[in-house]
């Protein structure tokens, strides 16, 4: 009975030691970066094997079992780390930029709608005044007011440029979301052992492949209603006769 208690107590103590060692190894691996991960793993695996043999005192079954569990944990950690970095690398910044773009679309369309409504109010006011002038027989003032009305209506047509710019911003946002979806699919693929390496490599290469083709796009990712005057000033500077003479 005393022997059995002693054996149980020793096994418990050895198991606790093995678990503490696993904790230490996991912390070490979590603190490490991706570079040289395989070398670290090999080095630590050798240490684990050595210490397991010592604590399990020749029990090969237990050594093999703990070693198997250890390798599974390491492999899972590797997958999780690659998943995390793939997500961080490819999606977070793009999603934030897209969110800002969508907010700009929202504000652009609201400003344009306000502009249109203001213009229509002014146009209706002008038509009312034209009616009054017609009743008075004031043709000279009517002529002037009709010209103003034409200008006002033309101004409203020009305001509709917001549609083109908002459409480009939405195309960009849609394209980014498609890219995020593609990458998330690859991240899910990372969790499949068989595709581990190939999926990871192809995910990393996606951006380069997308840009390398440089296909004509029907939108400008930087399209904006904001700061048009400053941007036009830059174009004027580059296209000025003096700049052309210098060039």
């Amino acid at each position: 009975m005393a022997d059995r208690d002693r054996v149980l107590s020793e096994m418990l103590s050895e198991s606790e030691a093995a678990l503490r060692m696993m904790d230490a190894i996991l912390e070490e691996l979590q603190a490490g970066d991706d570079d040289g991960e395989d070398a670290v793993t090999e080095h630590v695996a050798a240490q684990v094997m050595q210490r397991l043999e010592a604590v399990t005192a020749g029990s090969t079954d237990l050594t093999a079992l703990v070693m198997h569990v250890y390798l599974d944990v390491i492999e899972t950690l590797k997958i999780l780390r690659r998943t995390r970095s793939a997500l961080e690398r490819t999606t977070v910044e793009q999603v934030q930029a897209t969110q800002e773009k969508l907010l700009e679309v929202s504000s652009t369309t609201e400003l344009a709608a306000t502009d249109l409504l203001d213009g229509l109010d002014r146009a209706i006011g002008m038509i009312d005044r034209l009616d009054s002038l017609a009743a008075e027989g004031n043709t000279e003032e009517s002529e002037k007011l009709r010209a103003e009305l034409r200008d006002e209506l033309f101004r409203l047509i020009v305001v509709l440029q917001f549609q083109d710019i908002a459409a480009q911003q939405l195309s960009h946002a849609s394209n980014v979301l498609r890219g995020v979806e593609r990458r998330l699919e690859r991240v899910v693929g990372l969790l499949d052992d068989a595709d581990l390496v190939s999926s990871s490599e192809s995910a990393a290469g996606t951006d380069a492949a997308d840009h390398a083709h440089d296909r004509p796009r029907g939108y400008d990712p930087a399209a904006s209603m904001l700061g048009a005057e400053d941007r036009q000033a830059l174009a004027d500077e580059i296209f000025s006769p003096a700049a052309n003479a210098d060039g």
């Binding site: 033309f154 101004r155 047509i157 020009v158 509709l160 440029q161 917001f162 549609q163 083109d164 710019i165 459409a167 480009q168 004509p216 796009r217 029907g218 939108y219 400008d220 930087a222 399209a223 904006s224 209603m225 048009a228 941007r231 036009q232 830059l234 174009a235 004027d236 580059i238 296209f239 052309n244 060039g247």
Partner: protein, 125 residues
């Protein structure tokens, strides 16, 4: 004076044509991208107004290909686009664009740039 207006946005083509009509021009040919514009361009076109970002063939590539054609070397080209990075504007100038309007534009700016690109044509006539 006949204009070729190239933009994949129907709204933008209408706005530009409307602006041109306000200035007094009434003869237009429209194209939805650079490839279509190359097909529609001929010696009767006096001025081209083109967007940059278009599917199939973009505005920059369109101008580059146009300038390689014997009949497309001299026609004035005004680019009207949202692209406004310095490198883009310089690239447009190097491709053979004669002047540049940033969207959204005001009717005054568009008129001013059209007058500028057409001035040499008017002088030659």
């Amino acid at each position: 004076m006949k204009f070729l207006v190239v933009d994949d946005s129907v709204t933008m083509r209408r706005i530009i044509i409307n602006s041109l009509q306000r200035i007094g021009y009434n003869d237009f040919v429209e194209a939805g991208d650079g490839s279509e514009a190359l097909e529609r361009f001929d010696a009767s076109i006096d001025c081209i107004i083109t967007d940059w970002n278009m599917p199939v063939l973009g505005g920059l590539e369109f101008v580059q290909q146009l300038r390689q054609r014997e009949d497309g070397r001299r026609v004035p080209v005004l680019m009207v686009t949202t692209r406004s990075a310095r490198d883009d504007i310089v690239a447009a100038a190097q491709a053979g664009v004669n002047n540049y309007v940033v969207k959204p534009f005001t009717p005054q700016v568009l008129k001013e740039k059209i007058d500028q690109v057409l001035a040499p044509v008017a002088k030659a006539n």
